[in-house]
Amino acid sequence: MARAVSRNAKIGWTIAAWSVALIIFFPILYTIITSLKTEQEAISGFNLIPSFSLSSYEAVQSQNNYWRPFSNSVVIAVGSTLLALIVAIPAAWAMAFSPTKRTKDILMWMLSTKMMPAVAVLVPIYLIFLRTGLMDTRTGLVIVLMLMNLPIVVWMLYTYFREIPGEILEAARMDGASLRDEILYVLTPMAVPGIASTLLLNIILAWNEAFWTIQLTTTNAAPLSAFIASFSSPQGLFWAKLSAASTMAIAPILILGWFSQKQLVRGLTFGAVK
Protein backbone atom coordinates (compact mmCIF):
# COMPACT_ATOMS: atom_id res chain seq x y z
CA MET A 1 0.00 0.00 0.00
CA ALA A 2 2.33 2.72 1.22
CA ARG A 3 4.81 3.16 -1.54
CA ALA A 4 8.26 4.23 -0.51
CA VAL A 5 8.76 7.74 -1.88
CA SER A 6 12.17 9.24 -1.54
CA ARG A 7 12.53 12.61 0.20
CA ASN A 8 13.89 14.27 -2.90
CA ALA A 9 11.04 13.05 -5.06
CA LYS A 10 8.61 14.39 -2.50
CA ILE A 11 10.24 17.82 -2.51
CA GLY A 12 10.37 17.79 -6.29
CA TRP A 13 6.69 16.95 -6.65
CA THR A 14 5.70 19.49 -4.04
CA ILE A 15 7.55 22.26 -5.88
CA ALA A 16 6.07 21.16 -9.20
CA ALA A 17 2.53 21.08 -7.80
CA TRP A 18 2.87 24.50 -6.23
CA SER A 19 4.29 25.93 -9.45
CA VAL A 20 1.41 24.62 -11.53
CA ALA A 21 -1.12 25.85 -8.99
CA LEU A 22 0.51 29.28 -8.93
CA ILE A 23 0.53 29.53 -12.72
CA ILE A 24 -3.15 28.68 -12.83
CA PHE A 25 -4.01 31.06 -10.03
CA PHE A 26 -1.75 33.89 -11.20
CA PRO A 27 -4.24 35.76 -13.43
CA ILE A 28 -6.69 35.93 -10.56
CA LEU A 29 -3.98 36.98 -8.15
CA TYR A 30 -2.77 39.69 -10.50
CA THR A 31 -6.30 40.97 -10.92
CA ILE A 32 -6.59 41.30 -7.16
CA ILE A 33 -3.17 43.02 -6.96
CA THR A 34 -4.07 45.40 -9.76
CA SER A 35 -7.34 46.28 -8.09
CA LEU A 36 -5.32 47.60 -5.13
CA LYS A 37 -3.27 49.93 -7.32
CA THR A 38 -3.99 53.45 -8.45
CA GLU A 39 -4.82 53.90 -12.10
CA GLN A 40 -1.31 55.29 -12.83
CA GLU A 41 0.38 52.33 -11.17
CA ALA A 42 -1.80 49.93 -13.09
CA ILE A 43 -0.70 51.13 -16.49
CA SER A 44 2.94 51.73 -15.54
CA GLY A 45 4.03 48.15 -16.21
CA PHE A 46 4.38 44.86 -14.40
CA ASN A 47 4.54 45.28 -10.64
CA LEU A 48 3.61 42.79 -7.97
CA ILE A 49 3.53 45.18 -5.01
CA PRO A 50 0.53 47.51 -5.10
CA SER A 51 0.16 50.64 -3.05
CA PHE A 52 -2.92 49.15 -1.39
CA SER A 53 -5.04 52.00 -2.54
CA LEU A 54 -8.79 51.43 -2.26
CA SER A 55 -9.58 54.28 -4.64
CA SER A 56 -10.61 51.95 -7.47
CA TYR A 57 -13.14 50.19 -5.25
CA GLU A 58 -14.58 53.51 -4.17
CA ALA A 59 -14.79 54.63 -7.76
CA VAL A 60 -16.51 51.45 -8.86
CA GLN A 61 -19.01 51.54 -6.03
CA SER A 62 -19.88 55.21 -6.53
CA GLN A 63 -20.19 54.81 -10.27
CA ASN A 64 -22.31 51.69 -10.23
CA ASN A 65 -23.88 50.34 -7.07
CA TYR A 66 -22.44 46.85 -6.42
CA TRP A 67 -25.34 45.44 -4.44
CA ARG A 68 -27.89 45.37 -7.20
CA PRO A 69 -25.88 43.17 -9.58
CA PHE A 70 -24.76 41.16 -6.60
CA SER A 71 -28.31 40.33 -5.56
CA ASN A 72 -29.17 39.63 -9.19
CA SER A 73 -26.29 37.19 -9.39
CA VAL A 74 -27.40 35.39 -6.24
CA VAL A 75 -31.00 35.12 -7.40
CA ILE A 76 -30.07 34.01 -10.89
CA ALA A 77 -27.36 31.51 -9.91
CA VAL A 78 -29.24 29.94 -7.02
CA GLY A 79 -32.63 30.14 -8.68
CA SER A 80 -31.56 28.56 -11.95
CA THR A 81 -29.67 25.84 -10.07
CA LEU A 82 -32.55 24.88 -7.80
CA LEU A 83 -34.95 24.89 -10.72
CA ALA A 84 -32.55 22.69 -12.69
CA LEU A 85 -32.30 20.24 -9.78
CA ILE A 86 -36.06 19.98 -9.44
CA VAL A 87 -36.28 19.03 -13.10
CA ALA A 88 -33.11 16.95 -13.22
CA ILE A 89 -33.56 14.72 -10.16
CA PRO A 90 -36.64 12.91 -11.51
CA ALA A 91 -35.10 12.86 -15.00
CA ALA A 92 -31.86 11.31 -13.75
CA TRP A 93 -33.87 8.90 -11.57
CA ALA A 94 -35.70 7.64 -14.63
CA MET A 95 -32.53 7.29 -16.67
CA ALA A 96 -30.53 5.58 -13.94
CA PHE A 97 -33.14 3.20 -12.55
CA SER A 98 -35.57 2.65 -15.35
CA PRO A 99 -33.46 2.88 -18.49
CA THR A 100 -34.75 2.07 -21.95
CA LYS A 101 -32.89 1.26 -25.12
CA ARG A 102 -32.80 4.97 -25.96
CA THR A 103 -31.56 6.29 -22.62
CA LYS A 104 -27.93 6.45 -23.71
CA ASP A 105 -28.93 8.24 -26.91
CA ILE A 106 -30.96 10.81 -25.02
CA LEU A 107 -28.04 11.48 -22.69
CA MET A 108 -25.69 11.93 -25.63
CA TRP A 109 -28.15 14.16 -27.41
CA MET A 110 -28.53 16.33 -24.32
CA LEU A 111 -24.80 16.66 -24.04
CA SER A 112 -24.49 17.46 -27.72
CA THR A 113 -26.55 20.61 -27.20
CA LYS A 114 -23.65 21.88 -25.11
CA MET A 115 -21.33 21.46 -28.07
CA MET A 116 -23.26 24.03 -30.04
CA PRO A 117 -22.06 27.63 -29.64
CA ALA A 118 -24.62 29.56 -27.63
CA VAL A 119 -24.64 32.35 -30.19
CA ALA A 120 -26.28 29.96 -32.65
CA VAL A 121 -29.58 30.22 -30.79
CA LEU A 122 -29.21 33.84 -29.77
CA VAL A 123 -31.63 35.22 -32.33
CA PRO A 124 -34.60 32.94 -31.53
CA ILE A 125 -34.11 33.33 -27.81
CA TYR A 126 -33.69 37.08 -28.16
CA LEU A 127 -36.94 37.28 -30.11
CA ILE A 128 -38.78 35.08 -27.62
CA PHE A 129 -37.57 37.30 -24.82
CA LEU A 130 -38.71 40.43 -26.64
CA ARG A 131 -42.17 39.03 -27.35
CA THR A 132 -42.76 37.63 -23.86
CA GLY A 133 -41.40 40.59 -21.97
CA LEU A 134 -38.69 38.54 -20.33
CA MET A 135 -35.94 40.87 -21.52
CA ASP A 136 -33.86 42.23 -18.65
CA THR A 137 -35.78 40.29 -16.01
CA ARG A 138 -34.42 37.92 -13.40
CA THR A 139 -37.10 35.38 -14.29
CA GLY A 140 -35.93 35.31 -17.87
CA LEU A 141 -32.32 34.72 -16.91
CA VAL A 142 -33.22 32.05 -14.37
CA ILE A 143 -35.07 30.17 -17.09
CA VAL A 144 -32.36 30.53 -19.72
CA LEU A 145 -29.50 29.55 -17.41
CA MET A 146 -31.52 26.65 -16.04
CA LEU A 147 -32.05 25.35 -19.56
CA MET A 148 -28.44 25.91 -20.54
CA ASN A 149 -27.06 23.98 -17.58
CA LEU A 150 -29.70 21.28 -17.44
CA PRO A 151 -27.76 18.77 -19.58
CA ILE A 152 -24.77 18.97 -17.28
CA VAL A 153 -26.91 18.71 -14.16
CA VAL A 154 -28.76 15.67 -15.49
CA TRP A 155 -25.49 14.03 -16.52
CA MET A 156 -23.84 14.58 -13.17
CA LEU A 157 -26.85 13.34 -11.21
CA TYR A 158 -27.21 10.37 -13.52
CA THR A 159 -23.61 9.38 -12.80
CA TYR A 160 -24.14 9.65 -9.04
CA PHE A 161 -27.46 7.83 -9.09
CA ARG A 162 -25.95 4.93 -10.98
CA GLU A 163 -23.73 4.31 -7.96
CA ILE A 164 -26.79 3.69 -5.80
CA PRO A 165 -27.91 0.05 -5.77
CA GLY A 166 -31.34 -0.27 -7.34
CA GLU A 167 -32.32 -2.88 -4.76
CA ILE A 168 -32.51 -0.18 -2.10
CA LEU A 169 -35.08 1.70 -4.13
CA GLU A 170 -36.94 -1.54 -4.74
CA ALA A 171 -36.90 -2.18 -1.02
CA ALA A 172 -38.50 1.23 -0.53
CA ARG A 173 -41.17 0.33 -3.09
CA MET A 174 -41.85 -2.92 -1.24
CA ASP A 175 -42.04 -0.95 2.00
CA GLY A 176 -44.96 0.97 0.58
CA ALA A 177 -43.19 4.11 -0.60
CA SER A 178 -44.81 5.97 -3.46
CA LEU A 179 -42.59 7.27 -6.24
CA ARG A 180 -42.47 10.63 -4.51
CA ASP A 181 -41.57 9.05 -1.13
CA GLU A 182 -38.92 6.94 -2.80
CA ILE A 183 -37.21 9.95 -4.39
CA LEU A 184 -37.69 12.21 -1.38
CA TYR A 185 -36.82 9.92 1.53
CA VAL A 186 -34.48 7.34 0.03
CA LEU A 187 -32.81 8.44 -3.20
CA THR A 188 -32.18 12.09 -2.42
CA PRO A 189 -30.67 11.61 1.08
CA MET A 190 -28.43 8.85 -0.26
CA ALA A 191 -27.30 11.04 -3.13
CA VAL A 192 -26.66 14.11 -0.97
CA PRO A 193 -22.90 14.27 -1.69
CA GLY A 194 -23.54 14.05 -5.40
CA ILE A 195 -26.43 16.51 -5.34
CA ALA A 196 -24.42 18.95 -3.24
CA SER A 197 -21.48 18.99 -5.60
CA THR A 198 -23.80 19.28 -8.58
CA LEU A 199 -25.45 22.20 -6.86
CA LEU A 200 -22.15 23.92 -6.10
CA LEU A 201 -20.70 23.39 -9.52
CA ASN A 202 -23.84 24.62 -11.19
CA ILE A 203 -24.01 27.71 -9.01
CA ILE A 204 -20.44 28.49 -10.03
CA LEU A 205 -21.23 27.93 -13.70
CA ALA A 206 -24.33 30.10 -13.50
CA TRP A 207 -22.53 32.79 -11.52
CA ASN A 208 -19.78 33.05 -14.12
CA GLU A 209 -22.06 32.83 -17.13
CA ALA A 210 -21.42 35.92 -19.23
CA PHE A 211 -22.84 35.39 -22.70
CA TRP A 212 -26.55 35.26 -21.93
CA THR A 213 -26.41 37.65 -19.03
CA ILE A 214 -24.78 40.31 -21.18
CA GLN A 215 -27.05 39.73 -24.16
CA LEU A 216 -30.33 39.58 -22.30
CA THR A 217 -29.95 42.25 -19.63
CA THR A 218 -29.29 45.95 -19.53
CA THR A 219 -29.69 47.29 -16.03
CA ASN A 220 -32.50 45.82 -13.97
CA ALA A 221 -31.50 42.19 -14.03
CA ALA A 222 -27.81 42.56 -14.83
CA PRO A 223 -25.74 40.25 -12.62
CA LEU A 224 -22.07 40.64 -11.70
CA SER A 225 -20.74 39.21 -14.95
CA ALA A 226 -22.53 42.02 -16.77
CA PHE A 227 -21.29 44.40 -14.08
CA ILE A 228 -17.67 43.57 -14.98
CA ALA A 229 -18.40 43.99 -18.64
CA SER A 230 -19.79 47.44 -18.02
CA PHE A 231 -16.33 48.49 -16.85
CA SER A 232 -14.39 46.95 -19.67
CA SER A 233 -15.03 49.20 -22.63
CA PRO A 234 -17.02 52.38 -22.42
CA GLN A 235 -14.52 54.57 -20.57
CA GLY A 236 -11.35 53.44 -22.24
CA LEU A 237 -8.95 51.25 -20.35
CA PHE A 238 -9.17 51.78 -16.65
CA TRP A 239 -7.33 48.67 -15.53
CA ALA A 240 -7.45 49.23 -11.84
CA LYS A 241 -11.18 49.92 -11.86
CA LEU A 242 -11.83 46.93 -14.09
CA SER A 243 -9.77 44.79 -11.76
CA ALA A 244 -11.63 46.07 -8.74
CA ALA A 245 -14.97 45.31 -10.37
CA SER A 246 -13.75 41.84 -11.31
CA THR A 247 -12.49 41.16 -7.82
CA MET A 248 -15.80 42.22 -6.35
CA ALA A 249 -17.62 40.00 -8.80
CA ILE A 250 -15.61 36.85 -8.20
CA ALA A 251 -15.06 37.27 -4.45
CA PRO A 252 -18.37 35.72 -3.34
CA ILE A 253 -18.00 32.67 -5.54
CA LEU A 254 -14.33 32.33 -4.58
CA ILE A 255 -15.29 32.31 -0.91
CA LEU A 256 -18.09 29.82 -1.53
CA GLY A 257 -15.69 27.59 -3.45
CA TRP A 258 -13.08 27.83 -0.73
CA PHE A 259 -15.41 26.72 2.02
CA SER A 260 -16.99 23.96 0.02
CA GLN A 261 -13.86 22.69 -1.69
CA LYS A 262 -13.92 19.37 0.17
CA GLN A 263 -17.48 18.75 -0.90
CA LEU A 264 -16.72 19.84 -4.45
CA VAL A 265 -13.68 17.62 -4.84
CA ARG A 266 -15.34 14.66 -3.19
CA GLY A 267 -18.40 15.07 -5.34
CA LEU A 268 -16.46 15.47 -8.56
CA THR A 269 -14.31 12.40 -7.90
CA PHE A 270 -17.15 10.32 -6.41
CA GLY A 271 -17.20 7.76 -9.20
CA ALA A 272 -13.46 7.74 -9.72
CA VAL A 273 -12.16 6.89 -6.26
CA LYS A 274 -14.83 4.42 -5.26
Partner: protein, 334 residues
Protein backbone atom coordinates in the same frame (compact mmCIF):
# COMPACT_ATOMS: atom_id res chain seq x y z
CA UNK B 1 -54.09 -14.36 4.83
CA UNK B 2 -51.59 -14.96 2.11
CA UNK B 3 -52.67 -17.22 -0.67
CA UNK B 4 -50.89 -16.51 -3.93
CA UNK B 5 -52.02 -17.91 -7.26
CA UNK B 6 -50.15 -17.60 -10.53
CA UNK B 7 -52.24 -18.22 -13.64
CA UNK B 8 -50.37 -18.59 -16.92
CA UNK B 9 -47.83 -16.06 -15.68
CA UNK B 10 -45.12 -15.41 -18.27
CA UNK B 11 -42.17 -13.07 -18.53
CA UNK B 12 -40.20 -11.93 -21.55
CA UNK B 13 -37.24 -9.59 -21.55
CA UNK B 14 -37.38 -8.25 -25.08
CA UNK B 15 -37.37 -11.30 -27.32
CA UNK B 16 -36.13 -13.68 -24.64
CA UNK B 17 -38.79 -15.70 -22.88
CA UNK B 18 -37.39 -16.17 -19.41
CA UNK B 19 -40.56 -17.66 -17.97
CA UNK B 20 -42.99 -19.48 -20.26
CA UNK B 21 -46.63 -19.45 -19.07
CA UNK B 22 -46.70 -21.07 -15.65
CA UNK B 23 -49.32 -22.01 -13.06
CA UNK B 24 -48.65 -22.26 -9.37
CA UNK B 25 -50.64 -21.99 -6.18
CA UNK B 26 -49.09 -21.13 -2.86
CA UNK B 27 -51.38 -21.81 0.06
CA UNK B 28 -51.82 -19.48 3.00
CA UNK B 29 -49.20 -20.11 5.65
CA UNK B 30 -47.02 -22.29 3.48
CA UNK B 31 -43.22 -22.12 3.37
CA UNK B 32 -42.42 -22.51 -0.30
CA UNK B 33 -38.87 -22.76 -1.61
CA UNK B 34 -37.91 -22.06 -5.23
CA UNK B 35 -34.79 -23.95 -6.30
CA UNK B 36 -33.10 -24.41 -9.63
CA UNK B 37 -29.83 -23.83 -11.40
CA UNK B 38 -28.44 -20.32 -11.76
CA UNK B 39 -30.32 -18.25 -14.33
CA UNK B 40 -33.43 -20.44 -14.33
CA UNK B 41 -35.67 -17.53 -13.37
CA UNK B 42 -36.13 -17.93 -9.61
CA UNK B 43 -35.48 -14.29 -8.85
CA UNK B 44 -37.54 -13.18 -11.81
CA UNK B 45 -40.50 -15.22 -10.61
CA UNK B 46 -40.17 -13.78 -7.11
CA UNK B 47 -39.94 -10.25 -8.51
CA UNK B 48 -43.06 -10.84 -10.58
CA UNK B 49 -44.92 -11.85 -7.45
CA UNK B 50 -43.51 -8.81 -5.64
CA UNK B 51 -44.57 -6.49 -8.44
CA UNK B 52 -41.03 -5.29 -9.08
CA UNK B 53 -41.33 -6.63 -12.64
CA UNK B 54 -44.39 -6.47 -14.86
CA UNK B 55 -45.74 -9.75 -16.20
CA UNK B 56 -45.74 -10.29 -19.95
CA UNK B 57 -48.87 -12.39 -19.66
CA UNK B 58 -51.16 -14.13 -17.18
CA UNK B 59 -52.58 -13.11 -13.83
CA UNK B 60 -51.36 -12.96 -10.25
CA UNK B 61 -53.99 -13.37 -7.56
CA UNK B 62 -53.32 -12.55 -3.93
CA UNK B 63 -56.01 -13.88 -1.62
CA UNK B 64 -58.27 -14.26 -4.60
CA UNK B 65 -58.06 -10.67 -5.83
CA UNK B 66 -56.29 -9.79 -9.04
CA UNK B 67 -53.04 -8.04 -8.17
CA UNK B 68 -51.45 -8.30 -11.61
CA UNK B 69 -51.33 -4.56 -12.13
CA UNK B 70 -51.06 -3.51 -8.50
CA UNK B 71 -47.94 -1.62 -7.44
CA UNK B 72 -45.55 -3.40 -5.05
CA UNK B 73 -46.73 -1.13 -2.25
CA UNK B 74 -50.32 -2.21 -2.74
CA UNK B 75 -49.70 -5.96 -2.67
CA UNK B 76 -49.04 -6.17 1.05
CA UNK B 77 -45.97 -8.35 0.61
CA UNK B 78 -42.58 -7.85 2.23
CA UNK B 79 -39.26 -8.72 0.65
CA UNK B 80 -35.84 -9.50 2.08
CA UNK B 81 -33.04 -9.02 -0.43
CA UNK B 82 -29.75 -10.85 -0.78
CA UNK B 83 -27.88 -7.55 -0.44
CA UNK B 84 -30.09 -6.64 2.58
CA UNK B 85 -30.95 -3.35 0.83
CA UNK B 86 -31.02 -1.37 4.07
CA UNK B 87 -31.25 2.42 3.91
CA UNK B 88 -27.67 3.43 4.70
CA UNK B 89 -28.55 6.95 5.81
CA UNK B 90 -31.04 5.82 8.44
CA UNK B 91 -30.46 4.25 11.85
CA UNK B 92 -31.63 0.69 12.47
CA UNK B 93 -34.68 2.10 14.24
CA UNK B 94 -35.55 4.33 11.28
CA UNK B 95 -34.97 1.46 8.86
CA UNK B 96 -37.41 -0.73 10.70
CA UNK B 97 -39.86 2.13 11.09
CA UNK B 98 -39.81 3.09 7.41
CA UNK B 99 -42.60 0.80 6.14
CA UNK B 100 -44.79 1.81 9.09
CA UNK B 101 -44.06 5.47 8.42
CA UNK B 102 -45.13 4.94 4.82
CA UNK B 103 -48.28 3.23 6.04
CA UNK B 104 -49.00 6.18 8.34
CA UNK B 105 -49.05 4.21 11.60
CA UNK B 106 -49.12 6.15 14.83
CA UNK B 107 -45.83 6.84 16.56
CA UNK B 108 -46.81 4.73 19.57
CA UNK B 109 -47.73 1.78 17.44
CA UNK B 110 -44.47 2.15 15.51
CA UNK B 111 -42.43 2.16 18.71
CA UNK B 112 -44.31 -0.84 20.07
CA UNK B 113 -43.67 -2.90 16.97
CA UNK B 114 -40.03 -1.81 16.74
CA UNK B 115 -39.43 -2.89 20.34
CA UNK B 116 -41.09 -6.23 19.73
CA UNK B 117 -39.18 -6.90 16.52
CA UNK B 118 -35.88 -5.79 18.04
CA UNK B 119 -36.42 -8.10 20.98
CA UNK B 120 -37.28 -11.06 18.79
CA UNK B 121 -34.28 -10.47 16.57
CA UNK B 122 -31.71 -9.53 19.22
CA UNK B 123 -31.34 -6.02 17.88
CA UNK B 124 -32.29 -4.04 20.96
CA UNK B 125 -28.76 -2.79 21.55
CA UNK B 126 -28.21 -1.76 17.96
CA UNK B 127 -31.28 0.36 17.29
CA UNK B 128 -29.36 3.61 17.11
CA UNK B 129 -26.58 2.38 14.86
CA UNK B 130 -26.33 2.83 11.14
CA UNK B 131 -26.40 -0.28 8.93
CA UNK B 132 -22.76 0.36 8.04
CA UNK B 133 -21.80 -0.32 11.65
CA UNK B 134 -23.37 -3.78 11.75
CA UNK B 135 -22.14 -7.24 10.83
CA UNK B 136 -23.68 -9.16 7.95
CA UNK B 137 -25.85 -11.26 10.22
CA UNK B 138 -27.11 -8.22 12.09
CA UNK B 139 -27.89 -6.45 8.83
CA UNK B 140 -29.89 -9.42 7.67
CA UNK B 141 -31.82 -9.38 10.93
CA UNK B 142 -32.60 -5.69 10.43
CA UNK B 143 -33.87 -6.51 6.95
CA UNK B 144 -36.07 -9.20 8.44
CA UNK B 145 -37.22 -6.82 11.16
CA UNK B 146 -38.19 -4.27 8.54
CA UNK B 147 -40.22 -6.97 6.80
CA UNK B 148 -41.95 -8.24 9.96
CA UNK B 149 -43.26 -4.93 11.27
CA UNK B 150 -45.50 -4.36 8.29
CA UNK B 151 -47.30 -7.59 9.12
CA UNK B 152 -47.37 -8.57 5.45
CA UNK B 153 -49.59 -11.28 4.03
CA UNK B 154 -46.46 -13.01 2.70
CA UNK B 155 -42.69 -12.74 2.97
CA UNK B 156 -40.48 -13.01 -0.07
CA UNK B 157 -36.84 -13.96 0.42
CA UNK B 158 -34.27 -13.89 -2.39
CA UNK B 159 -31.23 -15.89 -1.27
CA UNK B 160 -31.17 -14.02 2.02
CA UNK B 161 -28.38 -16.03 3.57
CA UNK B 162 -25.93 -16.38 0.72
CA UNK B 163 -23.74 -13.50 1.89
CA UNK B 164 -23.26 -14.99 5.35
CA UNK B 165 -20.62 -17.44 6.50
CA UNK B 166 -21.51 -21.08 7.04
CA UNK B 167 -22.02 -20.99 10.81
CA UNK B 168 -24.16 -17.87 10.69
CA UNK B 169 -26.15 -19.33 7.86
CA UNK B 170 -27.21 -22.29 9.97
CA UNK B 171 -28.21 -19.96 12.80
CA UNK B 172 -30.23 -17.65 10.57
CA UNK B 173 -31.84 -20.62 8.86
CA UNK B 174 -33.19 -21.77 12.20
CA UNK B 175 -34.30 -18.25 13.07
CA UNK B 176 -36.27 -17.93 9.86
CA UNK B 177 -37.86 -21.34 10.40
CA UNK B 178 -38.81 -20.35 13.93
CA UNK B 179 -40.20 -17.08 12.64
CA UNK B 180 -42.38 -19.04 10.25
CA UNK B 181 -43.58 -21.34 13.00
CA UNK B 182 -44.43 -18.35 15.16
CA UNK B 183 -46.06 -16.08 12.58
CA UNK B 184 -47.54 -18.78 10.36
CA UNK B 185 -47.35 -16.32 7.47
CA UNK B 186 -46.79 -17.44 3.90
CA UNK B 187 -43.11 -17.38 2.97
CA UNK B 188 -41.54 -17.75 -0.44
CA UNK B 189 -37.87 -18.41 -0.31
CA UNK B 190 -35.38 -18.56 -3.18
CA UNK B 191 -32.16 -20.46 -2.63
CA UNK B 192 -29.31 -22.33 -4.24
CA UNK B 193 -28.71 -24.30 -1.10
CA UNK B 194 -29.97 -27.89 -0.99
CA UNK B 195 -29.94 -28.00 2.77
CA UNK B 196 -31.95 -24.81 3.12
CA UNK B 197 -34.47 -26.09 0.62
CA UNK B 198 -34.85 -29.52 2.22
CA UNK B 199 -34.93 -28.35 5.82
CA UNK B 200 -37.08 -25.24 5.61
CA UNK B 201 -39.67 -25.99 2.95
CA UNK B 202 -43.20 -27.25 3.27
CA UNK B 203 -43.20 -27.30 -0.50
CA UNK B 204 -40.33 -27.13 -2.97
CA UNK B 205 -40.74 -25.78 -6.49
CA UNK B 206 -37.98 -27.00 -8.81
CA UNK B 207 -37.45 -24.70 -11.77
CA UNK B 208 -35.45 -25.14 -14.92
CA UNK B 209 -35.30 -22.55 -17.70
CA UNK B 210 -38.39 -20.87 -16.25
CA UNK B 211 -40.46 -24.06 -16.30
CA UNK B 212 -41.66 -25.86 -13.19
CA UNK B 213 -40.16 -29.35 -13.19
CA UNK B 214 -41.85 -30.52 -10.03
CA UNK B 215 -43.73 -29.22 -7.02
CA UNK B 216 -43.86 -31.24 -3.84
CA UNK B 217 -42.78 -31.72 -0.27
CA UNK B 218 -39.05 -32.21 0.28
CA UNK B 219 -39.52 -35.92 0.91
CA UNK B 220 -41.73 -36.26 -2.13
CA UNK B 221 -39.01 -34.84 -4.31
CA UNK B 222 -36.38 -36.97 -2.68
CA UNK B 223 -38.34 -40.21 -2.86
CA UNK B 224 -40.24 -39.71 -6.10
CA UNK B 225 -38.46 -37.29 -8.43
CA UNK B 226 -40.71 -36.84 -11.42
CA UNK B 227 -37.91 -36.75 -13.97
CA UNK B 228 -34.17 -37.07 -14.44
CA UNK B 229 -33.61 -33.36 -13.90
CA UNK B 230 -35.24 -33.29 -10.47
CA UNK B 231 -33.55 -36.57 -9.58
CA UNK B 232 -30.17 -35.08 -10.34
CA UNK B 233 -30.92 -31.73 -8.78
CA UNK B 234 -32.42 -32.68 -5.43
CA UNK B 235 -30.14 -34.50 -3.03
CA UNK B 236 -26.56 -33.87 -2.06
CA UNK B 237 -24.31 -35.46 -3.13
CA UNK B 238 -26.09 -35.98 -6.45
CA UNK B 239 -27.93 -39.14 -7.38
CA UNK B 240 -25.89 -41.55 -9.52
CA UNK B 241 -27.41 -41.84 -12.98
CA UNK B 242 -26.80 -44.78 -15.30
CA UNK B 243 -27.82 -45.33 -18.90
CA UNK B 244 -27.14 -48.00 -21.49
CA UNK B 245 -27.16 -51.70 -20.58
CA UNK B 246 -27.18 -50.99 -16.83
CA UNK B 247 -30.48 -49.18 -17.24
CA UNK B 248 -31.84 -51.55 -19.85
CA UNK B 249 -31.51 -54.33 -17.32
CA UNK B 250 -34.25 -52.55 -15.36
CA UNK B 251 -36.32 -51.82 -18.43
CA UNK B 252 -35.50 -48.11 -18.44
CA UNK B 253 -33.58 -45.54 -20.47
CA UNK B 254 -31.95 -44.10 -17.37
CA UNK B 255 -31.82 -45.31 -13.82
CA UNK B 256 -30.77 -43.44 -10.71
CA UNK B 257 -29.52 -44.58 -7.34
CA UNK B 258 -28.78 -42.20 -4.49
CA UNK B 259 -25.34 -42.48 -2.88
CA UNK B 260 -26.91 -43.61 0.39
CA UNK B 261 -28.68 -46.48 -1.34
CA UNK B 262 -25.55 -48.24 -2.51
CA UNK B 263 -23.82 -50.72 -0.24
CA UNK B 264 -20.06 -50.90 -0.38
CA UNK B 265 -18.04 -53.97 0.51
CA UNK B 266 -14.56 -55.40 0.12
CA UNK B 267 -15.80 -58.96 -0.33
CA UNK B 268 -18.30 -58.99 -3.13
CA UNK B 269 -21.31 -57.38 -4.79
CA UNK B 270 -22.87 -56.37 -8.05
CA UNK B 271 -20.45 -53.82 -9.50
CA UNK B 272 -16.67 -53.86 -9.11
CA UNK B 273 -14.63 -50.67 -8.90
CA UNK B 274 -11.71 -48.87 -7.36
CA UNK B 275 -11.81 -46.09 -4.75
CA UNK B 276 -10.77 -42.72 -6.15
CA UNK B 277 -11.29 -39.88 -3.70
CA UNK B 278 -12.68 -40.60 -0.28
CA UNK B 279 -14.04 -37.99 2.11
CA UNK B 280 -14.38 -38.83 5.78
CA UNK B 281 -16.66 -36.46 7.65
CA UNK B 282 -16.82 -38.51 10.82
CA UNK B 283 -20.55 -39.03 10.76
CA UNK B 284 -20.48 -40.19 7.12
CA UNK B 285 -17.95 -41.15 4.52
CA UNK B 286 -18.22 -40.40 0.84
CA UNK B 287 -16.44 -42.64 -1.62
CA UNK B 288 -16.00 -41.75 -5.25
CA UNK B 289 -15.64 -45.10 -6.96
CA UNK B 290 -13.99 -45.22 -10.38
CA UNK B 291 -13.22 -47.80 -13.04
CA UNK B 292 -16.61 -49.48 -12.76
CA UNK B 293 -17.12 -49.41 -16.53
CA UNK B 294 -20.64 -48.05 -15.97
CA UNK B 295 -20.32 -44.30 -15.56
CA UNK B 296 -17.48 -41.92 -14.82
CA UNK B 297 -17.66 -42.19 -11.04
CA UNK B 298 -20.18 -43.61 -8.64
CA UNK B 299 -20.71 -41.74 -5.40
CA UNK B 300 -21.37 -43.86 -2.35
CA UNK B 301 -22.34 -42.68 1.08
CA UNK B 302 -21.76 -44.95 4.04
CA UNK B 303 -21.29 -44.66 7.75
CA UNK B 304 -18.27 -42.84 9.04
CA UNK B 305 -16.36 -45.75 10.42
CA UNK B 306 -15.64 -47.42 7.10
CA UNK B 307 -11.93 -47.18 6.32
CA UNK B 308 -11.42 -47.71 2.59
CA UNK B 309 -8.42 -45.92 1.09
CA UNK B 310 -7.50 -44.58 -2.32
CA UNK B 311 -6.88 -47.45 -4.74
CA UNK B 312 -8.74 -50.15 -2.79
CA UNK B 313 -10.84 -52.51 -4.86
CA UNK B 314 -14.46 -52.53 -3.70
CA UNK B 315 -17.81 -54.04 -4.64
CA UNK B 316 -20.98 -52.03 -4.88
CA UNK B 317 -24.56 -53.24 -4.56
CA UNK B 318 -27.55 -50.93 -5.20
CA UNK B 319 -30.63 -51.32 -3.04
CA UNK B 320 -33.02 -52.71 -5.67
CA UNK B 321 -36.04 -51.15 -4.01
CA UNK B 322 -34.53 -47.68 -4.16
CA UNK B 323 -33.73 -47.59 -7.84
CA UNK B 324 -35.43 -44.79 -9.77
CA UNK B 325 -36.31 -45.57 -13.39
CA UNK B 326 -36.80 -43.01 -16.16
CA UNK B 327 -37.99 -43.39 -19.76
CA UNK B 328 -36.64 -41.93 -23.02
CA UNK B 329 -38.11 -38.47 -22.36
CA UNK B 330 -36.60 -38.47 -18.88
CA UNK B 331 -39.92 -38.97 -17.07
CA UNK B 332 -40.26 -41.29 -14.15
CA UNK B 333 -41.55 -44.81 -14.82
CA UNK B 334 -44.04 -45.54 -12.07
Amino acid sequence: MGQITLEEVAKRFGEVEVIPPLDLTIEDGEFVVFVGPSGCGKSTLLRLIAGLEDVSGGRILIDGTDATDASPAKRGLAMVFQSYALYPHMSVRKNIAFPMRMAGLSKDEQDRRIEAAAKALNLTNYLDRRPGQLSGGQRQRVAIGRAIVREPSAFLFDEPLSNLDAALRVGMRLEISELHNRLKTTMIYVTHDQVEAMTMADKIVVLQAGRIEQVGSPLDLYLRPRNVFVAGFIGSPRMNLFSGPTAAEYGAETIGVRPEHIAISAEGGKWKGRIGVSEHLGSDSFFYVEETGLTETITVRSDGELGFRHGDTVWLTPNEERIHRFDKTGDRIA
